[in-house]
């Protein structure tokens, strides 16, 4: 579903990604782990088309991702951000937020689609015309996930989707993501520094360090505490 080959990104004179390559199969859940500055979020941004200056090759569902993307390609990939307090427009209602993508892409049936999506992410319908500040952190993250799913994408890019949430709310959102993935046959690319979250939600993981991919392993290796790279092991020790 996602193919990344030799992806290199420069921010001015600084090279933040050094030829990263990996593939994610359809329906798979793949995690990128590493500390701040390792380049994990940059990979997501590049896939979402938010990095102007990159080289290498990225393919999505068999289609090459170029510098310009048409609407049909954009519709296949959606992103969920870390901070539910910062990623929703403070003066738009839940309904506006969810319907915006439909309007942009000229899709009909707004009413039914918004209601169906509220049900799918477990938000009561009475929240439809609320503003973000009237919602709790967990509810906002449900809105952010709902927004990403409105265009029925095949791929969800998740950038630390639960790290700003309380543990009990994190559990709810993780359960929701896991359920949605099965239900809607989504492919996940998750960025996180939280290894237990990877263990719960993912099939494979890639360990990034200073813009280089140190290893790619199945999650079973993580669970057994047997990542192959020294740096991967170091991350395990630290999260213990």
């Amino acid at each position: 579903m996602i193919e990344v080959q030799n992806l290199t990104v420069d921010y001015g004179p600084t090279r933040v990604l050094h030829g990263v390559s990996f593939n994610v199969a359809e329906g798979e859940s793949f995690a990128l782990v590493g500390e701040s500055g390792s380049g994990k979020s940059t990979i997501l941004k590049a896939l979402a088309g938010q990095v102007p200056d990159w080289s290498g090759a990225m393919r999505l569902a068999g289609a090459d991702l170029g510098k310009r993307r048409d609407a049909s390609l954009v519709r296949r990939v959606q992103m969920v951000f870390q901070d539910p307090y910062g990623s929703l427009h403070p003066r738009r209602t839940v309904d506006d937020t969810l319907a915006e993508a439909l309007v942009i892409h000229g899709i009909q049936g707004r009413d039914a689609k918004v209601l169906a999506m509220l049900d799918a992410v477990g938000l009561a319908r009475r929240f439809r015309f609320r503003l973000p500040h009237q919602l709790s952190g967990g509810q906002r993250q449900r809105v952010a996930i709902a927004r990403a799913l409105m265009l029925e994408p095949q791929v969800l890019l998740l950038d630390e989707p639960t790290s700003a949430l309380d543990v009990s709310v994190q559990a709810e959102i993780l359960n929701l993501l896991k359920g949605l993935r099965t239900e809607k046959r989504l492919t996940f690319l998750l960025v996180t520094h939280d290894l237990p979250v990877v263990s719960f939600l993912c099939d494979r993981l890639g360990v990034l360090r200073s813009g280089r991919l140190e290893e790619v392993s199945p999650v079973s290796a993580l669970r057994a505490g047997q990542l192959t790279s020294a740096y991967g092991q170091e991350l395990i020790t630290r999260s213990g």
Partner: protein, 281 residues
């Protein structure tokens, strides 16, 4: 020796729907030990820390049957007297160095401010003392860092500067409110280790406020678990896994583990726990 005696501490704020009690009858004592207060957003843990420091802004109200620090009654203590305590005898570190340091004052001068207020050292002695404390928080080139502005240092370095600020007057009590949650995982342990080392070596009392159960269990001697403004569980840090209150058990169970094999994570039923406490949810 007991540093802190708190009995029936309440913090209330007026709201449109009448008065809201955010801390409801908290009772605990603290010796020269490390006490962790854990709870989720809105549990009242941060308000507890602020109430002890006399930092609850009006129109909030703080009441207690007893609130004593080193034998001084903190209830209704006048602001000038509180100022003499804060920084010198008790100090607090906030969550995010980016927002807690003054962006237009050099780091060294900011740390020296507390000395200026509380001591009668000469400018030269103050400078020497600041460099010393920067070294104590493991900043290798204190001379350079002294001259920097807060935006020129990393988050981890910024938090070490905050800790330097807290300990420069060697207070008896240190309150750290989420000291590492704005930091990258890789530097968290380092910052906690520095703090822990200072607390042990100088025999301070520490209150570590956090939402992170594992972190608190690892770095504290004793833990209070707060929910809805009340303490629902008190235990030794090593005994956290044997917690008896359904809220604590629920929190522990809802965290994914490194060797996770559950298909679904158990979710807390807040209404149920709230009902058990006989309070609002």
């Amino acid at each position: 020796m007991t540093l802190l005696h708190v009995e029936n501490l309440c913090v209330r704020f007026p709201s449109d729907q009448g008065e809201v009690e955010v801390v409801r009858g908290l009772t605990f004592t603290l010796g020269r030990e490390r006490l962790g207060i854990v709870g989720e957003s809105g549990s009242g843990k941060s308000m507890t820390g602020r109430a002890l420091m006399g930092l609850i802004p009006k129109p909030g109200r703080v009441t207690a049957d007893r609130m004593e620090f080193e034998g001084i009654d903190l209830r209704g203590l006048a602001e000038p007297a509180f100022r003499r305590l804060r920084g010198a005898r008790m100090s607090m570190a906030m969550q995010d160095p980016k927002f807690s340091l003054n962006p237009v004052i050099r780091i060294g001068d900011q740390i020296a401010e507390a000395l200026e207020f509380h001591s009668r050292l000469s400018a030269r002695d103050r400078r020497a003392r600041v460099l010393e404390v920067l070294q104590a928080v493991r900043i290798d080139d204190p001379e350079r860092v002294y001259q920097l502005y807060p935006h020129e240092v990393s988050g981890g370095m910024g938090q070490r500067v905050m800790i330097a600020m807290m300990v420069i007057l060697e207070p008896a009590l240190m309150i750290a409110d989420e000291p590492t949650s704005a930091l990258d995982v890789s530097v968290r342990a380092q910052v906690l280790e520095i703090m822990d080392d200072l607390v042990r070596r100088r025999g301070m009392g520490l209150i570590l406020i956090s939402h992170d159960l594992n972190m608190v269990a690892r770095w504290c001697d004793r833990i209070l678990v707060m929910f809805n403004g009340q303490v629902v569980e008190e235990c030794a840090a090593g005994q956290l896994h044997a917690a008896t209150h359904p809220y604590t058990q629920g929190l522990l169970a809802s965290m994914p583990r490194l060797d996770e094999d559950r298909a679904q994570l158990p979710v807390l039923d807040r209404a149920l726990i709230g009902a058990g406490l006989g309070g609002r949810t």
